[in-house]
Symmetry: C2
Subunit: 330 residues, 2 copies
């Protein structure tokens, strides 16, 4: 029994963003087909100033793989040791036997599969004539969203805003150089939001940034930043009369942006349209007209790590990439 | 940043049972010194006839390591694939940075550290003149208990009993050949128990096997088999007037043998003497006379995996054993 070892540089060559989008669609469909087991995740919080390490596991019956992702962040002193502030490792087990099939670096996968989730929601929920994006937040995940969404639509322009002007200018330079999409720095969040066909929020969720009145009819919102209790990016009133779609209702109503309007009584559970996987499976409609505001609230699921890393593993086997190691010799 | 890879055959050479006993003592002491974080573990149950895979994580402030153990069992069809019914993998992270320090096979560690836990309890709780063991159950863990306890006391004889005569005879042959300790097959569990200075139970916990009346004064009981809700090895009355010691009160009162007398009202929480780490630290007394019956109820803790695998890792570094691999090159 041999285990495949994959390093970060191999992984970046082994998977395209289109592959990740396909893997995330597969994950969402499996989740809403009763093919997924995802136990509550484990966290260990280290003494300050260190951050935490999380362990997320998922089983997918359609690919018969079990994944375990260990991801750490934020360790502000790591650069002193020549290390990034957060790292990751993924184990893949063959669910037939529970043999350890693969150990891979997990630094890239969270960013990739989260970016892909936005693109999947754009395919399902944005207007077909959408062309202008507003990006509130200009960090790594904002780049991942653009990288993924450009695979599924033609982006004419990006109106971007950030608390930090230096980050905003670097985002503009990077996106224009890498993708040739013009980025317009917005003087206020409002001026970006008002121009959006698709509004993406990827901030640290330190409080309401986007007001309901700014969002024009027909906008599709990709709400990424709020993934734990205490984070918030939107005025909760924005959920009133919007078509609300969650990746996981169980998660979003506890730790996603959807928690805020529920908590303040602006919506009830019945006002949540459904889960993205239900739309992908045709069990529920996606966008039904060009006027409705659609909100995709994404908190991230272990099963996305599962299908994405399983795709990387299959690509590695097909292309003879990686190093085999026998941890356990029968 | 490089990660050390250790395979099963290397691990078996890298650690002695005395090392494991030391590591388990370290774990118990750390646990009762507020130096441990152990989140609730994650389980994924596969469709039958397959078993489950569990993920247990622990952080130990005294060694600044974080461990994650993935362990699977029981997969009855695995022999068809040339694989054992259960397997394991351990990840070790340097808690200073959360860098992945080591990936090692985890097949041996659960058995070793569970065996060592019995020996630690014998040192703390058995009579100093104890020399006769009763072993109820004769499988792998029964062997591990003997292997560990012989490191801390001279065993004169073992009276062994098992539902399965073939297993009992194989146990006798193996123990006599390996350790030179005479094994007396007992015709009934009672006849073994009545002769015991130390009584070890390592069965599958399918119901009460040991009656209270059989246990003579001064006996130390090592209760291993019951580690999940639903298992049982003892008539609950045995806990009445015994000195009850748990590895973790939080665990034993929910899924250990200690649950049964609590549930039937034979004891209350106040009747539990304490945790083994408190005794090792001198916070509470161990055995106080030659007449009392002591019970060590062990459900197993992630922190035992942590300190044991961290010791293996340190031994590997000191002896230049293992293979380095760069999953993540800064």
């Amino acid at each position: 029994m041999k285990t495949l070892l994959l390093k970060k540089e191999e992984i970046s060559q082994l998977i395209s963003m289109m592959d990740v989008i396909g893997a995330v669609e597969e994950a969402y469909k499996a989740f809403n087909s009763g093919q997924v087991a995802q136990p509550d995740y484990m966290s260990i919080h280290l003494p300050p100033p260190r951050g935490e390490i999380d362990f997320k596991a998922g089983y997918c019956q359609s690919n018969e793989m079990i994944s375990l992702k260990a991801s750490s962040g934020a360790f502000p002193r790591n650069p002193e040791f020549g290390l990034p502030s957060g790292m990751g490792t993924i184990l893949l087990f063959d669910a037939t036997t529970c043999a350890l099939a693969c150990v891979m670096d997990g630094s890239l996968i969270t960013g990739l599969r989260t970016g892909a989730s936005g693109a999947v929601s754009v395919k399902a929920l944005a207007r077909k004539n959408a062309k202008v994006i507003a990006s509130i937040g200009t960090g790594n995940q904002a780049r991942m969203q653009i990288r993924a969404i450009r695979e599924v639509m033609a982006i004419e322009a990006i109106h971007a805003w950030d608390h930090h002007p230096a980050s905003l200018l670097k985002f503009k330079a990077d996106i224009e150089r890498e993708f040739g999409i013009p980025v317009v720095p917005a003087p206020t969040a409002r001026e970006a939001v008002e121009r959006a066909d698709i509004l993406i929020t990827t901030t640290r969720g330190k409080g309401s940034l986007v007001e309901a009145a700014w969002v024009k009819p027909g906008t599709h919102i990709v709400a990424i930043g709020t993934d734990v209790q205490g984070k918030q990016e939107f005025e909760p009133g924005i959920f009133r009369n919007a078509k609300i779609v969650n990746d996981s209702i169980a998660q979003c109503t506890v730790k996603g942006e959807t928690w805020h309007p529920l908590n303040s009584g602006i919506i009830t559970l019945e006002d949540i349209h459904g889960e993205i996987g239900e739309i992908l499976l045709g069990k529920k409609p996606g966008r039904e007209n060009d006027e409705e505001i659609t909100i995709f609230d994404s908190t991230g699921m272990a099963i996305q790590d599962n299908t994405t890393s399983a795709k990387i593993y299959r690509n590695a086997l097909e292309n003879n990439i990686g190093t085999f190691f026998a941890f356990f010799e029968k």
